[in-house]
Symmetry: C2
């Protein structure tokens, strides 16, 4: 198996290291054979090659089975001609990863970290399915002039159908509830969205379907998060809602995400950003990166046992009270100490 | 003073009644002379005239000094040719109310209602300033076909400047902090937005300015709401973020909003919807409507004392533990009983 690692910027390299050390140890136990390729991406790629998404990276993508990504961007490149984020969007388009999936499961033992009251957040187990290659992110025409600007939100029936089918399939494997989020009382693209959802729903009568407006959803995620199972929405709404969801559990450092395409290549990455303020300090929480690795082992390589093994080790270390600074600002261990503990548990 | 009351749909008429009864009593005390005009709007207007925003209403708008609105819409009109929401957008455009303002102040004594932990939400006192007549809500072209759809997000320099100046002025009268929210790492309209904010900021060097991406803001409002003072953003982001903010205090029933234009006419309405499920049951919370009235008395008629008097009476009644069902589902009073209590306090 060929794994392409793009550690990216900020804390990306540190947490990627942590995940790869763990993979090295656990792969021996399971005789899992793999090869790692690495490449610059985002800001690091701008520094190395003058562009965030290089031809070198494109070449390496041709030969890989899955991509593990750290994090991208930082204030250093805020004024660069092409920004790291443009590379990220180009990468998504290149890979055609239309489905971005972010699970949020709030463990009882970590409820205390949540900004929400325990009685509200306890038991939350939901998943946001975000359309990732359409909508306002890629819509044409787009125009930026001195006195006016224009963005286009565009969707075709097929684009919507693809992500909605994916969401129904996912719901079927979970608690069989799907919430579709749009702004159909205002937007034409949302009216089409709702129509497609209704059409596709005919093939999934076993899944309970609900429509919500995006503004009402932004409320409901805070007041009643346990009500939801799978939530599907378009690109820009998904960006906002999945970030909103990501803090409900109390730490961004625990959340991973996966982006799937119709081809075999999927992209796995932490839900958090590059945290430039703590980069290089060996205090970042590597768990989201480690969980991105386990998502990859499961979904790209069908290594469920191996993934479970790693996840259990992480949980045991957390249960011991061994945590990085974001989880416990009083008594904390470093990124590398945390990683060592997980490896000990695995050994 | 001519006040145009459009009670609208759902619980609109009940809570409007409540506000008007209070106004009648308190106006005598202050010898405040006013005339009420009423008209159908939204679904009620579809039922009466076949359209949500009638010429009759347009005529009455010509002769009014301020508009007090209840709430609009409901499932009854979901399949009507023109929906109530279309009337709402047409009304906003007609009035040119470019600035929608929603304050959230979380009273210490009501912290327990919040879905957020008390230590996070306590002391929150912020205001969302939402651009209300541009962006994706009104952008052209817009297209809905069988196999594809398009919405346009459009902004001119002038449109942005107008709302941003309003927000800076507002911040200056408060704690002098302004957070501008955009998605400038992706959208052209957001890049223009940020440019205008930077330009206007030169005239307000006494106000501390911060830029945030909309996804990061959706997180920060939950994790750190006390940090913010005035938040300014474009129409669609404002729709989502102001609804998100509206639940942080624990009850939508407490929040009012105002929409200002360059003309003298402003529009005042509760932040909540028409709640068709409880319409006609005399259990709706009238406070948001009452606070919309006090916003009107303050900003349209400079009747600060009268507004304060009403607000104090509401607070005293709440402090007595007299609450509607949304605030206390065990021991509650009806809408009309609550109103009577407030009137007693005022007398
Ligand atoms: C960095 C940015 C372009 C990106 C997005 O908006 O998609 C990020 O917020 C994300 O959610 O992955
Ligand atoms: C009803 C709807 C069109 C409206 C909006 O999106 O502006 C509402 O959500 C609001 O915020 O006033």
């Amino acid at each position: 198996k060929n794994i392409l690692c793009i550690a990216g910027d900020g804390i990306g390299p540190e947490i990627m290291n942590s995940a790869l050390e763990i993979l090295e140890v656990v792969s021996k136990k399971y005789a899992f054979k793999y090869k790692i390729e690495e490449e610059f991406f985002g800001g690091a790629s701008i520094d190395a090659y003058g562009e965030p998404f290089s031809d070198k990276l494109k070449e390496k993508i041709e030969n890989c089975d899955a991509i593990l990504m750290g994090s991208v961007g930082g204030p250093k490149w805020d004024n660069s001609k092409i920004r790291p984020e443009a590379g990220l969007l180009a990468l998504r388009k290149h890979l055609k990863v239309y489905a971005n999936v972010r699970p949020l499961k709030v463990e009882d033992s970590l409820c205390y970290l949540s900004p929400l009251k325990e009685e509200i957040v306890k038991g939350t187990d939901l998943m946001i399915v975000r359309e990732l290659t359409g909508g306002a992110y890629f819509g044409e025409p787009r125009r930026l002039e001195e006195k006016e600007a224009l963005d286009s939100i565009t969707y075709t029936y097929e684009e919507i159908e693809q992500i909605v089918r994916y969401a129904f399939e996912t719901a079927r494997k979970r608690r069989k509830k799907l919430t579709s989020v749009d702004k159909a009382n205002v937007l034409a693209t949302s009216k089409l969205w709702r129509k497609v959802v209704e059409d596709v729903a005919k093939d999934y009568t076993d899944v309970e379907l609900e429509h919500m407006y995006v503004d009402a959803m932004a409320m409901a995620l805070i007041t009643n998060p346990t009500k939801y199972d799978v939530i599907v929405t378009e690109n820009l709404f998904g960006d906002i809602l999945s970030d909103e969801v990501s803090v409900l559990g109390g730490s961004l450092g625990l959340l991973s995400s996966a982006s799937y395409s119709k081809s075999k290549i999927a992209l796995y990455e932490p839900a958090h950003g590059s945290a430039p303020d703590i980069a290089g300090m060996d205090i970042a929480n590597p768990i989201a990166m480690i969980y991105s690795l386990t998502m990859m082992l499961r979904y790209s390589f069908s290594q469920d046992k191996m993934a479970e093994d790693i996840e259990n080790a992480v949980k045991l270390v957390l249960d011991e009270g061994c945590m990085t600074k974001d989880l416990n600002s009083q008594y904390y261990v470093s990124t590398s100490e945390f990683t060592k503990k997980v490896i000990q548990r695995l050994g």
